[in-house]
């Protein structure tokens, strides 16, 4: 039998005795250093004691304590922070730390860069394909090291690794997954971030489940490039800010904006300084897929705290996509696209926040007008949603 012959051959494929001996010797002299936990444990115990002793002391000095409130920014230009620490006055900076000189390369995209955007998107596809998918929900089960990823302006692809899980071996393994061809490795770079994407998604769900927050929640979206969540509230209620502070004690998971959601039916004070992304939707080619996603997320993510002037409002036009409601959870809607368009394909799933989400039910046909921005998550998240209307028929 040939199978027996191949097995016989495979059994003969063994490293030389010299290599085996050398490996054994290398392993013997290269024991992994045991974790020296005792000094760390001692320091941690001391720190814990100091904290335990300090908290009542500080409380007694400061008198009766009002609940801590999360910082927030008014989108009409007022920068307000009611967080108790002055460090919270500004919207928290992104926690992702740049590690690649090429990551934020500027410059206009041209034909060559469009090609490399597609190449970068191929890396994204491969990484996503390597994550297991929940057969019931269809949602990807992101590993604890994965902080998100995005396509860069220069066409490359950046993976955000959770700081404490970032190792050379992990990077090597990811490179092996997303770059089967050697010449693709130049497209890949890494950043470290503080939070796993799965944690950010969990936080998103907590927002929607929290009554004080959901009652004033206009929108919430995970900004993968920033490794945080942008939350828009219709008003800065103390209960909501306190709950946000409880969920985000370090004030760096949420960037909280306060202002009304843009709507197509009324003029709104949308600051062009704050929202540099054009409301004129970028046209998408007819046959597009992930390769055709915008190479860069809109600057809205980076300038949330930079509002200054209220400019005459321009009713946003946006793009429209037809879909069917799959699920409504709080203010969040999960829909399935029914007609190709706006950069989405039929049967794609998309999620977004909408204050009147509760008025829709599963299977409702809807027409969604949004800014055209599609975040590269799964399911994808729509950018600014301007209107959601029940579609006829």
């Amino acid at each position: 039998m040939n199978r027996d012959r191949f097995r016989s051959m495979q059994e003969q494929l063994v490293p030389s005795p010299g290599a085996q001996a050398a490996l054994k010797e290398a392993l013997a002299s290269n024991h992994r250093r045991p974790l020296r936990w005792k000094p760390y444990a001692a320091v941690a115990a001391c720190a814990a004691l100091v904290l335990v002793a300090a908290i009542p002391l500080v409380r007694s000095l400061r008198g009766p304590q009002a609940p801590a409130l999360h910082s927030y920014t008014m989108t009409d230009g007022q920068v307000i922070a009611e967080a108790q620490e002055s460090a919270h006055v500004q919207a928290p900076a992104g926690t992702a730390q740049e590690e690649s000189a090429t990551t934020e390369a500027s410059g206009q995209t041209g034909t060559g860069e469009e090609l490399s955007v597609q190449a970068g998107a191929a890396l994204y596809d491969r990484l996503m394909a390597s994550f297991p998918t929940d057969p019931d929900t269809g949602e990807r089960d992101f590993p604890a090291w994965y902080g998100g990823s995005f396509l860069r302006e220069d066409g490359g692809y950046t993976v955000i690794l959770v700081e404490e899980r970032d190792t050379p071996a992990l990077r090597e393994e990811i490179a092996g997954i997303v770059c089967p061809e050697e010449d693709e490795e130049s497209l890949l770079s890494f950043q470290t971030g503080r939070y796993a994407l799965s944690f950010l998604h969990e936080q998103l769900e907590r927002l929607q489940e929290s009554e004080p927050i959901s009652s004033v929640l206009a929108a919430a979206i995970v900004l993968e490039m920033e490794n945080r969540i942008e939350v828009t509230l219709t008003e800065p209620s103390e209960d909501a800010l306190a709950e946000l502070a409880r969920l985000d004690p370090n004030d760096d998971v949420f960037t909280v904006l306060v202002g009304q959601r843009p709507s197509t039916e009324e003029e709104l004070p949308v600051s062009t300084d704050s929202f540099t992304v054009s409301h004129e939707a970028e046209p998408f080619p007819e046959e597009n897929g992930i390769q055709d996603l915008p190479s860069k997320l809109p600057d809205i993510q980076q300038k949330s705290g930079a509002t200054s002037n209220t400019t005459p409002a321009v009713p946003p036009t946006g793009v429209t996509v037809q879909a069917r409601v799959l699920k409504v959870t709080g203010n969040t809607m999960l829909v399935e696209v029914t007609v190709d368009g706006a950069g989405l394909h039929a049967e794609d799933q998309a999620t977004f926040s909408w204050p009147e989400a509760a008025s829709f039910s599963p299977d409702d046909p809807v027409s969604i007008s949004f800014s055209g921005d599609i975040m590269e998550t799964w399911p994808c998240q729509l950018g600014n949603v301007y209107s959601v209307a029940r579609a006829d028929g």
Binding site: N2, R3, F6, Q10, Q12, L23, A26, N30, A144, E172
Partner: protein, 167 residues
């Protein structure tokens, strides 16, 4: 969420269990016994030092295969290597199988272009499924089947026989 990962297994047992797998793949990839020896050592040193955690044995095997390919690629594509002796001219490429016929089969496999050689090797010698090969080589299963088919055609021509029949 994700299950807790685990390392598990005595290092020596793991080496014993996977030495042939790692070495064979490295040999198929590099075409050199000396390089395969180097890759074999490197893979298990990396394994030992990074202590990766695995969901199950299949995950461990996939990690070892992938790391073997990565380290093999690093060796064969290094600047030093590209400027020195071509693989086929290296004196250590022959593998002394016991049976001359086996040497002939291996020589035919080794002569295949890499895109056919690795799927053929993994399928027939390591008895991986097309799905597993696709995962290890980061290819679509359809691409693997196509490469297996073309690789078989070439082997039939070079060996004048049906050693590599359809599954």
């Amino acid at each position: 969420m994700n299950e807790p990962l685990r390392t598990g297994g005595d290092p020596e047992d793991i080496i014993r269990l996977y030495a042939s797998t790692v070495y064979g793949l490295a040999l198929a990839r590099t075409g050199s016994a000396a390089d395969a020896d180097d890759v074999f050592q490197e893979v298990f040193l990396v394994y030992h030092q990074s202590a990766p955690r695995f969901r199950d044995e299949e995950h461990r095997k996939a990690w070892l295969l992938r790391t073997t390919l990565n380290l093999s690629r690093r060796i064969t594509t290094s600047t030093w290597r590209r400027k020195t002796v071509p693989l086929e001219e290296r004196p250590d490429t022959a593998v002394p199988f016991r049976d001359p016929e086996e040497n002939r089969i291996w020589a035919a496999v080794a002569a295949l272009p890499e895109e056919y050689r690795l799927p053929i090797y993994l399928f027939y010698f390591q008895e991986l499924s097309t799905q597993e090969i696709a995962k290890a080589l980061r290819l679509r299963p359809g691409t693997v089947r196509m490469r297996l088919s073309r690789g078989r055609d070439r082997l039939r021509e070079s060996l004048k026989g049906e050693y590599f029949d359809e599954p």
